[in-house]
Amino acid sequence: MPFVPHTDEDVAAMLGAIGVATIDDLFDEIPRELRIGELAAIPAGMAEMDITRLMQARARADGQPLCFIGAGAYDHHIPAAVWQIASRGEFYSAYTPYQAEASQGTLQLLYEFQSMMTALTALDVSNASLYDGASALAEAVLMAVRANRKTKSHRVLVPRALHPAYRRVLRGIVESQGIEVIEAPFDRQGGQTPVAALDALVGDGGFAAIVINQPNFFGVIEDVDVLTDWAHAQGALAIAVVNPIALALLKAPGEWGAAGPERGADIACGEAQPLGMPLSSGGPYAGFLCCKKDLMRQMPGRIVGRTLDLEGKPGFTLTLQAREQHIRRGKATSNICTNQGLLVTAATIHLALLGTAGLERVAAACHANTRRLAALLCEIPGVEPRFDRPMFHEQVLRLPAPTADLLHALAAHGVLGGFDLGPDYPELDPALLVCATELRTEEEMQRYVTTLARVIAARTQAKCPVEPKI
């Protein structure tokens, strides 16, 4: 019996101790008419060697195409040690550290994670993870609406240049609490969110919070200082959505805006996937969330604190639990219980192995590779940069043919050419978002360029209509 250790003698002895004749008797409180027979649609069990064969064949079928897609999930090098350690049973098969004394490993690691995230964001407090970047943003918005007693507004301003899936998740989660999400336009030339366009959106209600995305979904670097100051001038909280790798090079959210007591984004959140989490078709990843200390009692999720034991020795424990559902139930700051702990384990080990210098090098290499890739692609007639502002590690390109067709043809050659912006941004169509992380080599980029050139040439020869350049 897979995973059940009982021998016949065990079962007999145990039933005897309980005082029943059969295991079935233990279910005698369940109304008869509800009991079911065979689970017909469930296949018979498989031995490990058979399921291994099946899964290997399926994993092979998915192939390993050359990937130039970013769009919120990034293909970075993960040091071998990261998952070898994270997969140790002591991390892998433990749960939430409710019994602190028997969970000092997980707790200390989480404290170190919090320390690393507050260092990256230059904010005071970090939690121990949320489900992913998008749901972390939704939690950040709920937190800001609760915390903002200045405007008492239920409106939040979100850039259209924020990941479309983040905007959808945000709407789905916060609109049920009557929070209104308003979109700020982006500049067609530069791709950034122009502060000049925001005043017109304020209206009577003001905003509880303004979301600032650095870099934004187009890879473009935003004027975060100006946007943060504008937010604070409105009495709104500034919520940063940031890429943790980019923070090695770019200004930390806690430093955004003019010097003064209000300086800095009030909350920073985002996707921790770039820190040691494999792409894995979209998950499991981990959302992070940091804030200024005056907001910490509104934070969702677990927080670890350092304290002393009864002999005065330092140790770690879950703290500020009066925010959480197991204590406050309906009045908790969030419903989250199980989080993304194992991914945080990976992220912490990842950051410890890279250190400041390593993270800077990864960020710089991604930036340089994407510039190089974009320059190479723009040598193809009809391909050109869509925006003229500096970017971090993604770039939007205008294409000479429908994006979906080109991507389809590229995929047939084993190249995933990027993210098609057309469906979410018809005003940019045809436009492609490309990314070349530190993993992409010169040969791989050359291969992409020659394949794309060939695909475009083949269409032209086939006299497919090519959009004229405007």
């Binding site: 059940v4 101790a17 029943v20 295991i23 233990l26 409180e29 369940i30 509800l34 009991r35 649609a41 296949p43 498989m46 490990e48 399921i51 079928a61 990937c67 919120g72 999930a73 040091p79 040690a81 350690i85 002591e90 892998y92 749960y95 550290p97 000092q104 690691l109 989480l110 404290y111 919090q114 320390s115 260092a119 121990a128 489900y131 992913d132 959808r168 200004k251 792409l279 078709s281 998950g283 499991p284 670890v304 304290t307 020795k313 204590i327 009045k331 908790a332 969030s334 989250i336 993304q340 945080v344 080990i349 410890a352 250190g355 400041t356 390593g358 090098r361 990864v362 290499a365 995933l416």
Partner: protein, 509 residues
């Protein structure tokens, strides 16, 4: 008594002395200029086109350590944890059963790990086949009409389920349904999810025998009732015998029934939530389907629905078109409650659950409920025989049960938490303490089907020994644990003198 006895320095259950040394933070081991150089690119690329005004100002202070230092540090930290792989972990409501290693290995095959979430479906047929079959198997074991794998954990499944209840009533122009009923025994996530979704959570009491108080339920329902959230078997470890009557009362009032699947392990292959009358459910794959708990997560909380709620399911869903599988997203599902995470769910966890389900097969699934129930009832019978008080002694245990230390607290001055902490010294993870809230001084004990009779016998012996210690030397128990890396921690200090992150200069206060 062999290994059963408090750990001493020559006891194999005790921790080696160096594990008990206060352990430096990785930050405190850092030295400027030291690094794990092999992990990063060998060159520093040019970034001069990034405007200076956008660049980082304050230096980034991350640990600078060698690769060996990092590996040793985190390996040693891992050794300070109790885990399923190392210890019996009868944490009630959490189903801490063995996580088969094959599930991890097979979910981490390179073809699965390297796949980008935006890769075309043509480059994901292997993954999609697994997910589609998982959806189908979950439909079968729960008796639901359709399943979405999108939610990342139980609480997110609850949010999705309650959002579907809301969407359903709205679609019928029934805006008056503003209340969700929640038994007082419910997990905290239930009322929290209802409130997060814009509802008022109204509490229903539990009767003296552990079943929902039917009279109180009848009182509470009305045109304002959107639905009720229940787990069955409930968090007090008994199967609510009146479930059909409850379903009748709530449905007659126009409300829907939500099933919290945290306790599905108890009934797998025996009874199905769909057959009990539930309209919408979530499952915790990190419980019933044995995916790892990872020191807090990740989980996966798929939702299942009856036919009338199908249009509202969260996206994405996997469908089969001829020989091919493909994702269905919001564009094709206009009534969907939408997306819960940016990329559609914890795929790697879903793959682990799939492998587990295939290894179990239909017979294995039934054995899960049979042997988890056998282990729980055996352990309850042994503890009762040893003189401990079961909270519901007249009832069968489900896959878990409660003992209350009310009497021990009163007579010996040693409470449930003291027993829990002393169990750590005996090499057992403590059961869930002080949940559910309605039973005083409670330990919620869930042994799971993967534990041997010997382990359960040792656990009984440990509780008996601790009670004896409580009689003869109560301070020993009240001061426990003694053999962990730290003694009992000062939670009040942790909350008052906040130290939430290491700072190169001073701590945050």
């Amino acid at each position: 008594m062999g290994l059963i006895g408090p750990a001493t320095s020559c006891d194999p259950r005790s921790t080696p002395p160096n594990r008990n040394k206060p352990h430096m933070l990785i930050h405190e081991q850092s030295r400027p200029g030291r690094r794990a150089a092999a992990q990063a690119p060998l060159y520093s690329a040019e970034v001069s086109d990034i405007p200076v005004s956008a660049r980082r100002v304050a230096p980034l202070v991350l640990p600078e350590v060698s690769e060996l230092q990092a590996v040793r540090h985190y390996t040693r930290l891992s050794q300070k944890n109790f885990s399923i792989d190392t210890h019996f972990y009868p944490l009630g409501s959490c189903t801490m059963k063995y996580n088969p290693r094959a599930c991890n290995t097979l979910a981490m095959l390179p073809g699965f790990l390297a796949r980008h979430p935006a890769a075309p479906d043509s480059h994901g047929q292997g993954l999609l086949a697994c997910l589609f079959e998982l959806q189908e198997m979950l439909k079968e074991v729960t008796g639901m009409h359709a399943v979405s794998l999108a939610p990342s954990a139980g609480a997110q499944g609850e949010f999705a389920g309650v959002a579907m209840i809301r969407a359903y009533h709205r679609a019928r122009n029934d805006g008056a349904r503003t209340e969700i009923l929640v038994p007082d025994a419910a997990h905290g996530t239930n009322p929290a999810s209802a409130v997060m979704c814009g509802f008022v959570a109204r509490e229903i009491p539990t009767g003296p025998n552990g079943d929902v108080d039917i009279a109180a339920l009848r009182e509470a329902v009305g045109p304002q009732t959107a639905g009720i959230m229940l787990t069955n078997p409930s968090t007090v470890g008994v199967f609510d015998r009146n479930i059909q009557e409850i379903a009748g009362i709530v449905h007659a009032a126009g409300g829907l029934l939500y099933y919290d699947g945290a306790n599905l392990n108890a009934i797998l292959g025996k009874v199905r939530p769909g057959d009990m009358g539930f309209d919408v459910i979530h499952m915790n794959l990190h419980k019933t389907f044995s995916t790892p708990h990872g020191g807090g997560g990740p989980g996966a909380g798929p939702v299942g629905v009856s036919k009338r709620l199908e249009p509202f399911l969260p996206v994405p869903l996997v469908v089969q078109d001829g020989d091919d599988y493909r994702w269905v997203s919001e564009h094709e599902r206009p009534q969907s409650i939408g997306r819960l995470t940016a990329f559609g769910g914890n795929m790697g966890i879903l793959l682990r659950a799939y492998v587990y389900a295939r290894m179990l097969g239909r017979e294995g699934m039934k054995r899960v409920s049979e042997f988890s129930t056998l282990n729980a009832n055996y352990l309850m019978a042994r503890l009762k025989a040893a003189g401990f008080d079961a909270a519901y002694p007249q009832r069968r245990a489900s896959h878990e049960f409660i003992i209350t230390m009310k009497r021990e607290t009163k007579e010996l001055g040693v409470n449930a938490m003291d027993f829990a902490k002393r169990l750590l010294d005996y090499g057992f993870h403590a059961p869930t303490t002080y949940f559910p809230l309605l039973v005083p001084e409670c330990l919620l004990i869930e042994p799971t089907e993967t534990e041997t009779k010997e382990e359960l016998d040792d656990f009984v012996a440990a509780l008996v020994a601790i009670r004896e210690e409580a009689r003869t030397n109560p301070e020993l128990v009240k001061g426990a644990p003694h053999t962990m890396p730290v003694r009992r921690l000062d939670d009040v200090r942790a909350a008052r003198q906040l130290d939430l992150a290491w700072r190169s200069t001073a701590n945050c206060t």
